[in-house]
């Protein structure tokens, strides 16, 4: 069963790995996003993550459910995103996938990360050692129901002189 969470607690890789089990599956892939100590040359002291929490939980649950359904050969997917103040070296996101064969595990974990980067309503602000915190540039999410990628060619965002829908 797909599993996901968005919350303020520390992320333990072992716990995320447990969520995808092991017995029936020969391959496990785990991806961790970690707070870096610099960004474009500026030293970073930490990162602050803000979310539209209720929606982020629903979106992450949808992302892992879609990824698990896409595993034709079977397997399990789990993901967790952390919020709040993180220090350098702490884990902000973890994605784990177990599958019978390794290519599918790599591919699904990569895909979940790509979806998180595009769809999850989460924003991060870096705290620099040499200046005030700054929101980082991000990706404009798609329109329409989560995961309905076929609608991306419609008007993704609303402008002041937006076209008729």
């Amino acid at each position: 069963m797909a599993w996901s969470d968005v919350g303020f607690g520390e992320i333990a890789p072992a716990v995320v790995l447990e969520r995808v089990g092991a017995g029936g599956h020969g391959a496990v892939n785990l991806f961790l996003g970690v707070v870096r100590d610099s960004n474009e040359g500026r030293p970073v002291s930490g990162m602050e993550y803000e979310a539209y929490e209720a929606m982020a939980r629903e979106q992450l649950a949808a992302i892992v459910a879609e990824a698990e359904r896409a595993l034709r050969g079977g397997g399990r997917v789990a993901a967790v995103h952390r919020l709040g103040d993180l220090k350098v070296g702490e884990t902000s996101v973890a994605v784990a996938v177990s599958t019978p064969h390794r290519a599918a595990a790599f591919e699904a974990a990569r895909r979940v990360m790509e979806e998180i980067k595009v769809r999850l309503p989460v924003w991060k602000r870096e705290r620099y050692l040499d200046g005030s915190p700054e929101w980082l540039g991000g990706q404009a999410p798609p329109v329409g129901a989560g995961g309905d990628r076929t609608r991306e060619d419609r008007h993704a965002r609303v402008g002041p002189a937006g076209p008729e829908a």
């Binding site: 999850l120 309503p121 999410p141 008007h155 829908a165």
Partner: protein
Amino acid sequence: MRVSVLLFAIYRELAGTGNLDVSLPERSDVRALLAALRGRGRLSALPAEVSVAVNRQYAEPGTILADGDEVALIPPVSGG
């Protein structure tokens, strides 16, 4: 009708608040809500294109709103 507007990250800082109650004519769409928001002082600086979620689902400019809807203005996301 009234909708509840949630603002996050840079939009929250722009508005100076994380949520607003907005009165709109019945059957207004997302585009009309954004036009109304841009008519307010600080939110006139909203970028030309704004992603929106209605009741926690990404929505389209023409999505029709209903009384009590929760409408979130979603800045470019940067999770991960």
